[in-house]
Every structure is written in structure tokens, then in C-alpha cells.
């Protein structure tokens, strides 16, 4: 563990009024800045001197319209400043993507959720980030913009390693896009942590799927905290896809999911325990979505 300084390092603070100003600043300052949304990850990282001390902290909250959550027939759009609380409380999220509301409420505390954002959780890119597995099972993507161009990256491909993303120094995430799901689709996020609140996941399992007349029409499984990045478990999905669902098949898929992971051994949990719990939680999630 590094030293924890109670005081922040010195930096200059700017609050641009438009996205264009931010994107221009990113080009100009080339990595000597940090973007500030909720700050619930950034401020502790700066106090711990975990990240390079920035010359500039660019606060995004001066730009209006970045905190919106909108839903239409094509899906859900989450602005980069939408707080975790606002996502959990959004009627559209609760009705069409309850798994996201569930994941949101599993995070931290009311105080942190009132400030922190999903975009920040994603860009911070820790393997245990609670918003990510659920978003991956919903086939979410991120819209990324630089001063010159815009690109869309499927969330599954956004993570390169622990705290490393596909984002370049002159880019920022401007939207999280979640496509429309099937009418009968259901999802669940199960988080295992020693404490019920204010704790990181030892294992996080998200499952989104559809089961019609006992046949698995569609299934996506994503796992958090069990590999250098959140991962999808495609071979476990293949066990179930298009098949008549039985408990034996669910068990086989859950065992398969364990083979998709490479968990660390640390003070939170041993590698062996994490592997056992991937099996248990995946089976439990699949049972809830496909068999109940």
C-alpha cells in the first residue's frame, strides 16, 4: 500500500462550457490533465498519489446535457455525467434494464452513488467494476470522441488490462449506448463481497438471456473481478444457446464459465475460492434467468 496523503496535489482547475472546448484542451494538454466527473475515484487516486499528478483537472460538469438518460425504441443512452443514483432511479432503466438498476445499487454508498457515474466506473476500468458485467451482457458500447473524430467501441473490447482502456489521451467517452433488448429478455447481476455494502466484488456475475418454452433463445454471461478485465464467457454461453434448458446443462455451463477466468490470489480472496464462487454464482444466475 502506498502513502495516503490527506491533501491533494496542486493543480489548476478548469470548467469548460462546451464539449468542443474540452476536446481541444485534451489535444493541447496531452496527458497532463485529468477529467473530472463525479470525482469519487479521481480524488482518492490523487490523494494516494496513485496516478501522475495532473497539471489540469478539467471538470465536465460545466457542460449542460451530459447527465441525461434517454430511452427510445432503439435503446438507452447514458450521458457521461449521469450519476449512479440517477441511473438506479431512472424509470426507463427500472422498466427496461432492471439489471442496470440492480448493479447501480450494489455499488458503494448513497453518498458515492450521488456523485459517481457509470462512465467514470467504466473509464477507471478496475476488474471488479460493478457496472461493467451487466452492461456487457446488454451488448453496450461506448461512444468516444476526440477533437477530430468519433468512434464507437463495443464495451467488451474497451478494456485492455487493469485500469487500462482503449481510450487515447485526446479522447473522452461521450455516451454509453445500450441497445434495445428482446421483450422477453431478463437479466440479473450477482455480486459476492464479504460485506453487504461499501465493498468490492470478489466475484461479480451478470447474466442476460431469454428462455422460451424451455429453449434458451439468447444468453450472455459476463464476469467481473476474476480476470485482468471484466470478461465474457462465450464457451459457457455456447453450452446453453439454442438448447433445451435443464439443471444439468446449467451446471455444465457454470463449470465451463470457471475455465474462462484467471482470478488473482489476494487478501480479498484466494484464486481457488474465486473459482469455486464463479461456478456457484453463475449457476445461481442462470437458474434465475433460465429456469425460474
Amino acid at each position: 500500500m502506498g502513502i495516503f496523503y490527506r491533501r491533494l496535489p496542486r493543480f489548476d482547475y478548469v470548467v469548460p462550457k462546451t464539449l468542443d472546448e474540452v476536446l481541444k484542451a485534451l489535444n493541447k494538454h496531452k496527458g497532463a490533465y485529468r477529467l473530472l466527473a463525479g470525482g469519487t475515484d479521481l480524488i482518492p487516486q490523487l490523494k494516494k498519489r496513485e496516478i501522475k499528478e495532473p497539471e489540469y483537472v478539467i471538470d465536465l460538469k460545466g457542460i449542460s446535457g451530459l447527465d441525461t438518460i434517454s430511452y427510445d425504441g432503439n435503446g438507452l443512452k447514458i450521458g457521461p455525467l449521469a450519476t449512479i443514483t440517477s441511473i438506479a432511479q431512472s424509470p426507463a432503466v427500472q422498466e427496461h434494464y432492471p439489471i442496470l438498476a440492480q448493479a447501480a445499487l450494489s455499488m458503494a454508498s448513497p453518498q458515492v452513488r450521488n456523485r459517481g457515474t457509470f462512465a467514470g466506473n467504466i473509464c477507471n476500468a478496475v476488474p471488479s467494476a460493478d457496472s461493467i458485467p451487466s452492461l456487457i451482457t446488454l451488448s453496450a458500447s461506448v461512444k468516444i470522441r476526440s477533437a477530430r473524430k468519433e468512434r464507437i467501441v463495443p464495451l467488451e473490447q474497451f478494456f485492455i488490462g487493469p485500469r487500462i482502456t482503449a481510450l487515447k489521451a485526446n479522447e473522452m467517452v461521450v455516451e454509453i449506448t445500450v441497445p434495445q433488448q428482446r421483450e422477453t429478455s431478463r437479466g440479473v447481476y450477482l455480486k459476492l463481497s464479504p460485506r453487504h455494502s461499501m465493498d468490492l466484488a470478489i466475484v461479480g456475475v451478470a447474466v442476460t438471456g431469454t428462455c422460451e418454452n424451455g429453449i434458451c433463445k439468447d444468453i450472455r454471461i459476463a464476469l467481473g473481478a476474476v480476470a485482468p478485465t471484466p470478461v465474457r464467457a462465450p464457451t459457457a454461453e455456447a453450452v446453453l444457446q439454442g438448447r433445451q434448458i435443464t439443471s444439468a446443462l446449467v451446471d455444465e455451463a457454470a463449470r465451463n464459465a470457471v475455465t474462462q477466468c484467471s482470478p488473482i490470489d489476494d487478501h480479498r480472496a484466494s484464486r481457488e475460492y474465486r473459482c469455486d464462487m464463479i461456478y456457484v454464482l453463475t449457476r445461481r444466475a442462470l437458474n434465475q434467468i433460465l429456469l425460474s
Partner: protein
């Protein structure tokens, strides 16, 4: 230095602050209200909880400059002169505190909870206080205090 305006407990303050000063630093050291405490300094313990524009936040995780123009309520803003707020009174009556370090944050989180839910269950209280740590009481007396406060508020005391 940056100039900011804060409305704290109904009083307007115009302040010159360093960009790297937290809201907690400014409330405690510039404004002189020491009710909000610095515990962990990283958003785990909730001792620094204040209410900003109607929601509970960790003042240790917010830059003072980010709070420019906001309305803030600290524990000092709850009592009506000498008369304690019902939640404060309930904590005193029931003994919902021992060392008292977590109490300002606990009471503000409880206020947010009771503003939304007049009759919370034990489980709802625990969930509402999930961002506030107490290392003394074991929480039982805190939960009893909040239940008593809910009763007092309903009776309009």
C-alpha cells in the same frame, strides 16, 4: 485562488479557495464549521457527510470549486436555535452515539432517509446508512434512535 459562493445552512459565503482544497477543508477551516469530520478521506467512512442540493455527499471527495453556487447543509444547520432537530434529540435520548465522531454524518444520512421514507424498517435504515461507519455502537442504538426519530417526526414534535 478561485472565488466561489457557497450557501451553508442558509448563510451566503464568498470565499477565495485553492483549486485543490476539498469542500470539507473549506467548511471546516475557512467557514469554521467543524461538525463534518475527516475520517478516512477517501469516501469510505461517511464522517464528512453533508447535504448538497438535497442529496448526501462525501465532502472529502468534492473540490470546493465544484461546489460553487451550491446549497449545503451541515450538522450545524439542523437545530432550530437551542432546540435540537428530532433526529438529534433521539440520538441523545436513546444513546445513539458513544465517541460521536460518526454522528454528524449518521444524522444527516438519517435525515435524507427520513425525508423520503417516514416509516423505515430496520433493513431500510441499514441500507440508508450503508455509507456511514460507526466503530463504537455496533449500530443497534443508532437504528433505535432513527426509529424513535421517525416516530417523533410523525407526531410533529
Amino acid at each position: 485562488m478561485k472565488e466561489i459562493m457557497l450557501n451553508v445552512n442558509g448563510n451566503e459565503h464568498t470565499l477565495q479557495v485553492k483549486p485543490w482544497a476539498t469542500l470539507l477543508d473549506v467548511i471546516r477551516e475557512d467557514i469554521g464549521l467543524t461538525g463534518a469530520k475527516e475520517g478516512c478521506g477517501e469516501g469510505e467512512c461517511g464522517a464528512c457527510t453533508v447535504i448538497m442540493d438535497g442529496v448526501a455527499v462525501n465532502a472529502c471527495l468534492i473540490l470546493a470549486v465544484e461546489a460553487n453556487g451550491k446549497h449545503i447543509t451541515t450538522i450545524e444547520g439542523l437545530a432550530d436555535g437551542e432546540k435540537l432537530h428530532p433526529i438529534q434529540q433521539a440520538f441523545v435520548d436513546i444513546g445513539g452515539l458513544q465517541c460521536g465522531f460518526c454522528t454528524p454524518g449518521m444524522i444527516l444520512s438519517a435525515k435524507i432517509l427520513l425525508d423520503k421514507n417516514q416509516d423505515p424498517t430496520d433493513e431500510e435504515i441499514r441500507k440508508g446508512l450503508e455509507g456511514n461507519f460507526c466503530r463504537c455502537t455496533g449500530y443497534t442504538k443508532i437504528i433505535q434512535s432513527i426509529k424513535a426519530a421517525a416516530q417523533m417526526l410523525k407526531e410533529g414534535r
